[in-house]
Symmetry: D2
Subunit: 361 residues, 4 copies
């Protein structure tokens, strides 16, 4: 007897995330009044939001619920048949699937939701309601205008296993963080030709690390910080702004009122060629996460959002057993590849024998 | 018998700083190759540097010496007679002065240097050699082009005393940091109509906290960080980039190879009216130093450059006895006015009972 | 018998312009809804507007009237006594003056208005109501935020005569446009240390050429164009955006609903030293008005707003008799110093014998 | 007997253009010294250039020849077999093809060149030498850094015919310019998910209209203009900078020393979904080519570069017989959809009965 591996669906891109929030009004203030995402439609239980260059119905569904969590990571596929392929792909792996011809949320048609091998709720759809692409509507732009959904980022204990599954699903690795013993700490994976549609970050999982929106320019990201300061909401800024080593993009990490992490991101690079050179970063390179060497705050490593199964229950965590990036890179002394490898001679004279500038008490 | 208080000289602006460096070649790499300051002239003992919009001979003199220090803070006055007035102003205060008709450095004529009441070496001059203002020479611009000297910043133990003297000298306070008991932690003072030509920062002094150059736009400052990252010199970044609360400017702090601190700064506001409203910040407002609430690294509070007397000897330090801003604002818990004053109810739900995001181990 | 020349008032800066508009509601749409100037107060006859970093009551008064015109060019002086000095300065020149202790408009106290030797209505005041400086209120910023009043620009037939009077009044020339025969086509004059508080442009006068507001960065100016395009109001864009040769600033010229010209301007240079080098541009240098060589549209040379006398009547025009910059520089062939002086050899090969790229039919 | 249509090759993206220049040293100054493209390799006959984020050998080959022309438009395909498919695709259409396993230029392997149905020299390859992607090498960035090849633009007489062929080849239309009678004036077509890999512009053809490189931000484009002004090379600026209506990108058109047109371009939008909404612009909409309503200079419509056949001879022109966009939109009066359609009532009051602001003599 022979078995055939089902063909992977042809995934276009990350499309939207369903986010469970505990206070819809407070979340609306954050996503609409502060960040300026556009309301496609809303009622007293859910709000559908999109970015300014989007033409599908939404990039986020905020849904009020008893506990902050992520309801689904949703991807758009190339054809209606790719929804069938997605269903078969997961069934063949023994994953629970649920198909709804009318869709699970407004604005989206025939969809399949699955509990994937890593425990994440994934969705695939092709049919979608078109709405106005507001790209030319500059009278609606704010100084920090969000123009595109860029990517998701997921926390999972075993990154190599996650990558193998995602490669089967048709994703390609563009960059990763490793160490000299071959431990993989994180990997960036794409369908559309940017650095990623999602990334796999090593840690107790399944959890959602962040969802990322793109701006046109770097000053747009700075303007978001300035506005948060003016509103005395600067506590929502968790990390950045800064320049990533991985992806070469300019970034900012915010936390929404429930603690869900939102990245604002701009200017990574084209990755669409099949032989696009993958970039491998050493976990001890202190410029991998921030090109300027700014330390990563611990909460960025430790905190992430829980995810729901198809019944709406929180999925239990599996612990990471591989080495922890945070422990490898924020230790007694803190920092820096260059110093450990190259010794004190390579340090500026005025700080030999000292902690890195920027080290916190 | 009556005494008359001498008239203060009419000071135009901060003009240049003489900086003693221990390795001239290494400093040249930093100021010329990395930061792109323009060499007006140089020899094996000193380098004269200017910014792109400057038309006087220099904004920095780098001079090689046995110990990193600051040789002089130099101000330009409105007329040749104002040099006389400066001399008389300090003599009347019993300060040591030295007048040189031919100037102390190349490119500058008749000057007086003084040991001021706070222990700082100050210089005043009018005569100066004009050089080409390179403002229109865009073929010379780098992505992080420095276009103007903006200000000095000095560390002195008793800020109110320092302010009283500086106001006699004709400076005006534009902003300061205080607490509810009236302690002054720092004050910003101007002659030209920007937020400052110099600032007085409370601490053991006399020391030089930083010298600041202006760029045209914020992306120019980010480009300097990107370049430092590319050159694997990110350890030179001490703090920022960020938005100041005080001054509302966008900033970055670097440390040169000797540890002298250089700020890159852009976009404060016009302050030239005599009734310009001074802004008073509460030392417990965690957005005063960084509008986005990013914690100030301790080295930024503790480190500063020693200064020389007119004989070239390091001036001894006097300790601050007033409260320390660092101790007031980086304590056991760390941060934030809003929390201490307003209580936990004002905090985002996901972090009540937690440290501020961004808190470092 | 001896006469003494009165001392000039110590002028701080250009402060506000009173602009007569024919449809207050339409003008409000332009200045408030499109440009984002802040309403300090308004009624059905007049609107008081200010820029985001301003702390005095207003930078523009829009007043409804039967004919589009300029009511006054108003400058702030350093002290209350400087208002007296201004009054004496103009009386000594035989100019009509009117003093009102309670001020002519809301928010401004003791003022003198004059009909100046060039026929312009000028005002001088010190007393002014302070309002909130909105510099830190980033939640109010639009992508094209106007942060400061930068300068006025006036049309007058005899530029050298105008300059001599303005220098008596304490202004200094920073740049001008000349030809080899000594004709002066325009001159830029400052009190605050920017390139200008006002400029004198040669042409039939007295007329108001434009009023200019500053943004922080160049992208803010581009955002104003994008918004005008989105609102299908691009006809309001007259010239630019571009880089000036004169002033080195980035610019855009708009026309309001009555045709009053508004410049948006950013990033000129410090000019506060008494020996600041003046820049003299050749009228045949095709980069003087636009550094990129973009032709100036004829309306920019020909159109300007009429001004009112102290009785509110339109001031008659005096014709320019000196050479016209437009005729000198937009002729049969159009353009360019380089070509006329240096000949065809200096032209790119592909266009020898051709008009300049950018030449319009 | 049945015939099967050959499968189109799976084209990834526009990859490079071979440009014949008449003075290699002069062209090097323009592309390397002014624009900052990176030399991968060069000899006295040809220069291989790439953009900063590119990892394939080159994006431009400059080759010295007796007459300015374009040697080839080259596309990268997904697999080696797609080169075979390309060869078959064109052979089936009766087009001349030439296959070289060793490639036609350095750095590229097995390639096929064709004389396509429109008379253009097209090339397809997969094999290519990888070189360093300089994305993180910020020490090499100039203020106007070119980071990616974005697209080609071709002039051809019959746009609908051209589109039909290109759609067979796998391209998709993202935007076009039409009139109410169905005339197509231009169409934008993509493989990678940007607005285009090439565009078909109506006119006498085959000719090359331009090649376009992307920058990260708008200020990078302005910096190129500033540098050209500083070098007194502003005659190389033909049109812009401005905001396109079509594509929503920010743009600048330059002419190289031979008159070849180079666009600098940034910030169009994602188009990768199969149902991406195409945008159809009315040829009478004066914001279609420039969102700010700035008139298009006639040379931009009339000038373009000739192309070579596979023997290196200039391909003869076929004249356009459809209506001309230039004649439709730059006529006796000049401009603007709004006015012609909506009448004078929609015009600003101050210009009724007048030409559009910006109209040139």
């Amino acid at each position: 007897m022979t078995t055939t591996t089902p063909t992977a669906p042809d995934i276009l891109r990350c499309a939207y995330m369903e986010i469970i929030v505990t206070d819809l009004a407070k979340s609306r203030e954050f996503y609409v009044d502060v960040l300026g995402l556009v309301v496609t439609e809303e009622n007293d239980k859910e709000i559908y939001l999109r970015s300014l260059e989007e033409f599908i119905h939404h990039n986020i569904v905020l849904r009020e619920g008893p506990e902050a969590a992520v309801g689904v990571f949703s991807y758009r596929v190339r054809t209606p048949e790719d929804v069938d392929r997605a269903e078969e792909f997961y069934k063949a792996r023994g994953c629970r699937t649920e198909r709804r011809k009318e869709g699970f949320v407004k604005g989206i048609g025939d969809s399949v939701r699955v509990e994937d091998p890593l425990g994440f709720p994934y969705e695939f759809f092709y049919e979608v309601e078109h709405v106005e692409r507001l790209a030319w509507r500059y009278e609606l732009y704010t100084p920090g205008a969000l123009v595109r959904l860029d990517h998701f980022n997921q926390v999972t204990p075993d990154v190599p296993t996650a990558c193998a599954y995602m490669e089967d699903l048709g994703f390609r690795i563009t960059e990763d963080i490793q160490d000299e013993e071959g431990t993989i700490y994180a990997a960036w994976m794409r369908r559309k030709p940017t650095v990623h549609d999602t990334a796999m970050t090593g840690g107790d999982g399944p959890r959602m690390h962040h969802i990322a929106f793109a701006t046109h320019e770097k000053h747009n990201i700075l303007a978001i910080c300035d506005k948060l300061g003016a509103l005395r909401l600067s506590d929502h800024i968790e990390r950045g702004p800064g320049r990533h080593g991985v992806s070469n993009a300019f970034y900012l990490y915010l936390r929404d009122p429930d603690g869900h992490r939102v990245e604002i991101y701009t200017q990574d690079y084209y990755t669409g060629d099949p032989d696009n050179p993958a970039v491998h970063w050493d976990v001890h390179d202190n410029q991998r996460r921030d090109w300027w060497g700014t330390p990563v705050v611990p909460s960025w490593y430790t905190d992430a959002s829980r995810v729901l199964d198809l019944d709406g229950n929180i999925v239990p965590l599996v612990s990471r057993t591989d080495a922890s990036e945070m422990e490898e890179t924020i230790g007694a002394d803190g920092f820096s590849y260059t110093r450990r490898e190259e010794g004190e001679d390579s340090m500026p004279r005025w700080k030999q024998g000292e902690y890195k500038l920027g080290h916190q008490m």
